[in-house]
Symmetry: C2
Subunit: 327 residues, 2 copies
């Protein structure tokens, strides 16, 4: 094996802690330091904690920085800034802003001879790859993405803003019947309501009117009005005990027609069932950190997406070993 | 869009006909000629049929040759021979011989500045990609491949060699219970017998002893003895009417653990449900033909596998369009 890949983590929330665990599962990588905006001395971890303002001192010591900040505020600034000094990997997931983000990171990385793999994770990321693959293989077909069962952060936040709500969480759940219709190969037209159910667990403030809260949630435009929405009221204890993990998952399904007169129906499905959304995203980030390092070693520069990275670069195994063992 | 990619098909069996159909679904490709060992004038097709002995006359006229011969006899010879003159794509699927085949094709392709993508299709091919991906993302886990429901050519041939059998076909069928145990994330140890069922439809020769035939099939070492095998006797008419299509499919499933103390179970599944095995394989070959052409345009040479090809090269869309629409 070649030299150990030295990795830094930027941001120590759920995702950063997931990356820390994932690196332990990959013997060809070593975690050098974790960079935080908080006071590093106040955080307990098994790894050196460093103030993010000192990050440039690690130039030449860290092969790849894994950016674990959020897409709303952290990455738009950190992505381009850190691509000037390091090879980077991130999970920027604001779909509509990806082209603009790509260009900014690409400028910074190209100018400084670095490689930055942006928008990895599972959606964007592995789901995107499977959309592309299925569309390329079955050009005459239709693609469906189902998400869940999993927590939607945006919808949970929306619940918490309702008057009378002290806490709450929302699960997006695909309707089994819709998934089965798609798997049958019939290429159904599915409405928003037919595809996903929204299930809410809500803790009321003292004296709040449950019926009024439920109505306000169910009729909230954009977030809930177009869906079948179920609201359960629970105590704060139950919410903490039963709804504090972060499961997620989903399915990318494409069915298409091939052959003379398009007579054969072919179905491609990729699915994930995740106990922990942030830990899985972290595991994907770590595999793409390996690829970023290798692309840089091969002399490549600039921003890349999962579409630009051959799968062979994700594995610690050599090309010969991959052909022998996995092809 | 850049220039149309000019394609040739070598071998006009089920796979070659599938490629012919698939090219019609891809407006950036054009089928130039079909090469056959048979008398080209005796074959009806909507495309020029050419004797394979004249194939070198097409140097410079055809961008990529899609090799549709069999892995047992055709490809070991044609793969290296044609890689000298053309960019090629094939579906060489004798797993154990892939490393040797890769080296021979690589020699021929490198020496002559061509690109040859070998062993595409779905297994080897898309299944291999998903094995690699899942192993790279979840290094601490276990992988399962299920095949079927689908016809196994090797097992069907074995049935037909039994004395008293005039015709027959064998379906490999995954046991639902085994698939569900794997999906539960419990990483079960599964025996051969627990994973797949073998179902045979057999036409007897006149006067043959049905019980003796069934026993001989069920106890055939390597092919059937380790499995639960079901034998149905049918008439030749029923066999032709009900068992002449070539469905197939399967699932690659990996479940692994992540997080502190490996406390979270994560499941990645890729599955195919195919009405027509050869047409689907053909559709994959065509997408990889596009990639081979682009890799050659980018100055690459030599043998490649699916592990070396970024997904972005499979799609007719530009990188900008892919980032905008599919990421």
């Amino acid at each position: 094996m070649s030299k150990t890949i030295s990795v830094g983590i930027v941001g120590y929330g759920n995702l950063g802690r997931g990356v820390e665990s994932a690196i332990r599962q990959n013997p060809d990588m070593e975690l050098e330091a974790i960079f935080t905006r908080r006071n590093p001395e106040a955080i307990e971890a098994g790894t050196p904690m460093v103030s993010i303002s000192d990050i440039e001192q690690y130039k030449g010591k860290i092969d790849v920085m894994i950016l674990c900040g959020g897409s709303a505020k952290d990455l738009p600034e950190q992505g381009p800034a850190l691509a000037k000094h390091f090879h980077t990997v991130d999970s920027f997931d604001t779909h509509a802003l990806i082209p603009e983000y790509f260009n900014k990171v690409d400028d910074a990385a190209q100018t400084n001879g670095n490689v930055s793999v942006i928008s990895t994770g599972w959606d964007p990321g592995l789901f995107s790859l499977n959309r592309l693959l299925a569309e390329a293989v079955l050009p005459e077909g239709k693609e469906y993405t189902f998400w869940g069962k999993g927590v939607s952060q945006g919808h949970s936040d929306a619940i918490r803003r309702v008057e009378g709500v002290s806490n709450g969480i929302q699960y997006t759940i695909p309707h089994d019947a819709a998934v089965e219709r798609v798997r049958s190969g019939s290429n159904p037209q599915l409405t928003t309501r037919e595809k996903h159910l929204r299930e809410c667990f809500v803790v009321l403030q003292e004296g709040a009117d449950a019926e009024a809260v439920a109505n306000e949630i169910k009729n909230m435009p954009n977030y809930f009005a177009d869906y079948e929405t179920v609201v359960h009221f629970v105590s704060d204890e139950v919410l903490r005990a039963e709804h504090s993990t972060m499961p997620h998952g989903g399915n990318v399904i494409r069915s298409g027609q091939t052959g003379p007169n398009n007579g054969s129906t072919q179905l491609i499905e990729f699915s994930l069932k995740l106990d922990s959304n942030p830990e899985f995203t972290a595991s994907v980030l770590v595999a793409y950190a390996r690829a970023a390092y290798r692309m840089a070693q091969a002399g490549q520069t600039g921003a890349k997406t999962v579409f630009d990275v051959p799968y062979g670069l994700l594995s610690p195994k050599s090309p010969e070993q991959l052909r022998k063992e996995l092809l």
